[in-house]
Symmetry: C2
Subunit: 275 residues, 2 copies
């Protein structure tokens, strides 16, 4: 999917919501535990309940990989289901991969070809040749970790060399590898006040913003500092939507939570003059 | 496996060789392409030919993941085979994972529990809570990326804050999270001259050293600057062993290449007074 198509979808759905399919099998409602593939059935119900107000789904690969071959099958089925039923939706593999060049090529193949995701999150620690293999696929995206939402972000990401913090160096240096048409950045909602400085470096790029909801980030703050004239934001919520309820009503409640966020997003898009 | 058992194996086999099972299906000999699981059969033959002189195997997960469910099955079979036939061998998942705490827990489960690896490589960019979940398993190990062997290592790993380079900060800071009994570091052989400075920070830890052979690093240089009184080195070779020959003789040649390296390692261990 290209930049224009993504922006069109945001305007059409009046939303910049990404639903994180962090579908931990241990947290799935009891009544689903007896079916053949509980994780897929859970995802399917959540997807059907939220697709109307969602522009992107983001399975975090760890929750699938932890179950070995079975988990990988649940992931494949989930991707295929979304592709068939909701082909307009942007699909992000939250994999945080990154290895030497010939190995990153293999990860690119795994997620952008075998599984046909639109985008993959990538860790920048190993530099250029660990990132560029993912940029060889037309209309596919790298979403590079810049400033993450967790506490450990403070261990290394804020280290300064000649006044430039590591996450700022990642934003700057990676401009040499890709552009706003094939690269986005992860910026945690828990550090929304830093979005202003980030927008000075990458005014036009999309930012994938996790941490709204369960992790405590504020949607209004994120929009205030991070929204640009093409929205430029994909805000993710995972647990706050998919595990809002753990009874047979889980999908109904997931839909409600997603629509609540979409409603807030519609107001913010209008305030910005995008709608 | 604990520190002592690993050192005992090094002395017994007179080797600190790790064979990287980067088993790219496109590079596997033609005569194996017709069997049910070419990658597993290839691995099995390489393992049988090299296990006598090898202390560790390190499948790079990308080469398996790129084939989806089938690749994951090849990986599971490979791990099971090594566990059954060569239970003394140290098993490293070269996965370079790392995510927020609850997600890293899932990756830890995937590799240290579901697949029962002894160790997993982890990327440090996201800091403490992305690393510590892997340290909760007794006698299992985190192998943290410090100074990698690729060209892109120069993009961020050498950035200096108050005279301390990023990879040095990773070595220092991570001392607060684990110790020589559960943490190792990746240090590329292509930067062997920096091993002296690294040993000043982590004198007793094991270092996993990729980059000997195909990537151009020298075993003698690595031993000169990096070996300590408990060896403290696990030196990996991947392509130089497993793809030394692409005919029906591939396993025989893999064994020869592994024994050649083991012979050089035996001399180095004797020079150090370890044997």
């Amino acid at each position: 999917m290209n930049y224009t198509a993504l922006f069109e979808q945001i305007k059409k759905k009046k939303s910049f919501l990404c639903v994180g399919l962090d579908s931990d099998i241990a947290k799935i409602p009891a009544h689903l535990q007896q079916v053949a593939d509980p994780v897929f059935e859970f995802n399917k119900a959540v997807i059907d309940a939220t697709a109307g107000v969602t522009i992107a789904y983001k399975p975090n690969i760890a929750f699938y990989e932890s179950r070995g071959v079975e988990g990988w099958q649940s992931l494949e089925k989930t991707v295929t289901y979304i592709r068939q039923q909701y082909p307009e939706i942007f699909l992000i593999a939250d994999a945080k991969r990154g290895d030497i060049g010939n190995t990153s090529q293999m990860y690119a193949k795994a997620f952008l070809e075998t599984l046909n995701f639109d985008a993959i999150t990538v860790a920048p620690y190993m530099g250029e040749d660990s990132v560029t293999p993912f940029l060889q696929y037309p209309e596919k995206w790298v979403i590079l970790l810049a400033l993450t939402s967790n506490k450990g972000a403070f261990d290394f990401q804020f280290r300064e060399d000649k006044g430039v913090k590591l996450y700022e160096a990642v934003l700057r240096k990676s401009q040499e590898w890709g552009d706003k048409q094939n690269m986005m950045y992860v910026v945690g909602a828990t550090k929304a006040e830093m979005l202003g400085g980030i927008r000075d470096i990458v005014p036009d790029h999309f930012l994938l913003v996790p941490g709204v909801g369960a992790q405590g980030g504020s949607l209004q703050e994120v929009a205030k500092y991070g929204m640009n004239s093409h929205c430029g934001l994909i805000v993710n919520s995972s647990r706050g939507i998919i595990f809002a309820d753990k009874t047979e009503q889980f999908a109904v409640r997931a839909g409600e939570e997603a629509r609540k966020l979409q409603g807030e997003m519609e107001i913010l898009l209008k305030e910005k003059g995008i709608l």
